[in-house]
Symmetry: C2
Subunit: 411 residues, 2 copies
């Protein structure tokens, strides 16, 4: 697998993209983003588990039920979530799907729709229509980066990646873009993500691959414990490379296995970029819980630590206040013996400083701990000694900047 | 029931208190607090459900198992939680219990022990010993307020209350003090609280009363979703009034019922004071979910809204961004139909502005909503229309001040 320099959503063959500023964003930045495939795609999606679901999520679920093998593209608007907008919102999402299909010249159910932004405001359909046509006019292989820009909201940088994957019968490419920043938490599709590939993959295989990849990537990141009404990850495979991924051989080293690993890599990298760009984030934290009875419990504890405002503010202050991590671990609803636990931290995931061993503070030097907590990347390992399962999550700190961004989001 | 002016923990007959600065707090403020009863008390406690439990919590649970009818007092230190301190920590807690018993002249298992502060540091026992004796030398009926001061950490004001309760055979008094500020969340005993009464109550009745009162008070507040290793609420009844609460009549209007109501009032008022003094809090929010299928689900949704950083920062910014409350409600893990929901807000709990009805934004005036979100007290009501159950929680906003306090807590 080779990571492509300046790789984008249009790195896989047969994909084009375009973006436009429709005026939904007061800033005048691009807020319409279009990804289009020259061939029909098999497509799969993972969606928010929130009970309050935005109109485009409902529409995409419906669309993928009737058409998951002839998808042509994805239209996204940023600045307005089209959530809590009732029947009118759903009609608007349908209209957006129809307008974009007309603009690119395919039929309506071949387009998928994404929205992100403020909740509870109806989409300005005149702006959407003009924006969609403007984005369609831009469609080209060079506009992948612009498309990734167009889906951003409070993101401070564009999140995209592409990798080349040599397989037995040729090389395929996977491209991806994502937006995140706030309302990021595991157990949901977590944000907007669009992944493209020119491999040819049967739709049921594609679904399984996407679910497995999301499980160890987008579902393992937490910015603020909040999950959106709109979280969606879409995967489109257009077969443009002519390479077919055969499901019948899924042994180690098979095309299936190599492609799956590459897809996981793309999803993990996008996920980590989302955490690094968490609203107001100044630190990136990789948190591993080992020695749990099972994976669910390991994940539950890691998540609870990652979500704790007291833990996150301690990281923001570069304060080696590890007691808060133990407090957070203890409230996860998972039984463990505090006297068997150890906690260690590292600046690189290789050299570790043990802070707590057998439930007791070690005689570590305060300056050594302070030096690690002062880093911008911090690795944490909590060892439970209850079993053999482990889980890793990625999170960021909770800073003044987070409060500033979110106290005045709409102003 | 009459609320006493300047009521404290020593308002009930037969209780005295004292406080001292032992030097555990670098600020030189009082950090040892002693509450003592001239008569033996029946006593009950509610403790943290965190898996990581501080030494004094383990000690009090053990003490109340062997002695819940002859308790004489409570010794508290602030500035050091005596948590994650292993066997040495437990020995230190026992030593603290013994020193305080000697200082006041009772036997060791007649004292209960509380600690609050930094996790993972052993108690400085020399300072503790000197402080306990200094506090014991201060014991008097006038020092109730000082005792309440002595248990504070990041609290910005002292939390105390006392009420007089006229019963059929005489008047009894209930006094209470609490400390909170951070690591405050429901489903735990939630902070340190000590409640005294001069009623005479059998210990099993006392336990039931305290559990019921905590359930609708301390378990209904959330500052940051974090729960401490040390959370404890203690209730001591010394019978000093000579009035016995007979358990056999618990009908409406009975002494039992009237006293229980008064105890709930004391617990609720202390709980609300804790929220008002939440770390960095600038707003007090009363959040009610009605029309849920059952109380557990109502509570679950109310809690999830109260815990959401995005909701809390919107309140901090006086931003009527109610979509975030719907998002938070939707991620609570409770099934409901978003198209049947309504959401309303009020500055006083009496006049309501409906923002969302039947899942759709109403045509409310943005200025009217902004005016309510600008208040320092805000009432929110989410109506689900799934059933008849409801729950209320109290919470506060998430401000820059919260980050400042918690990023640099130990420095």
């Amino acid at each position: 697998m080779n990571i492509l320099k300046n790789g984008t959503i249009t790195s896989p063959q047969g994909f084009v993209a375009g973006a436009a500023a429709s005026g939904i964003k007061a800033s005048g930045k691009a807020d319409i983003s279009l990804v289009f495939s020259e061939h029909d795609c098999t497509a799969a999606g993972v969606f928010t588990k929130n009970q309050v679901v935005a109109a485009p999520v409902l529409l995409d679920q419906e669309t993928l039920q009737v058409n998951s093998a002839l998808v042509r593209g994805v239209i996204t608007n940023s600045g307005n979530a089209n959530a809590c907008t009732g029947e009118v919102g759903l009609q608007n999402a349908r209209q957006m799907q129809k307008i974009s299909a007309e603009a690119v010249g395919c039929s309506t159910p071949q387009m998928l729709v994404l929205s992100t932004g403020v909740i509870g405001v109806q989409l300005p359909m005149d702006k959407i229509a003009a924006g969609v046509h403007a984005a369609a006019a831009e469609l080209s292989r060079d506009q992948g980066h612009q498309a990734a820009e167009g889906i951003c909201t409070t993101d401070t940088f564009v999140k995209e990646i592409a990798v080349e994957v040599p397989l037995s019968s040729g090389t395929v490419t996977i491209g991806g873009m994502a937006k995140g920043a706030g309302m990021i938490h595991p157990d949901m599709a977590t944000m907007l993500g669009v992944i493209t590939t020119d491999a040819q993959i049967d739709v049921d295989v594609l679904r399984g691959m996407l679910n497995a990849a999301v499980d160890v990537s987008f579902n393992c990141i937490s910015v603020d414990g909040d999950t959106s009404t709109n979280d969606t990850v879409l995967l489109l495979a257009n077969g443009g490379s002519g390479v077919y991924i055969d499901r019948r051989d899924w042994s180690v080293g098979s095309d299936y296995a190599i492609f799956s690993e590459a897809l996981i890599h793309v999803c993990k990298e996008l996920s980590k970029l989302i955490v690094r760009d968490g609203e107001g984030a100044s630190k990136f934290i990789e948190l591993t819980v080992t020695g749990a009875r099972n994976k669910t419990e390991a994940h539950q504890i890691a998540n609870t630590i990652a979500m704790s405002p007291l833990v996150k503010t301690a990281f923001a202050g570069s304060d080696a206040n590890w007691g808060r991590m133990m407090m957070a671990a203890g409230k996860a609803g998972v039984k463990f013996n505090q006297h068997h636990t150890s906690l260690m931290v590292s600046p690189d995931g290789e050299e570790w400083l043990v802070l707590l061993d057998g439930g007791l503070p070690t005689g570590y030097r305060e300056e050594a701990a302070a030096a690690i907590f002062a880093q911008s990347d911090i690795y944490v390992n909590l060892i439970l000694r209850e079993g053999l399962a482990e889980a890793t999550v990625w999170t960021c700190d909770l800073t003044h900047e987070y409060v500033t961004i979110n106290a005045d989001y709409r102003t």
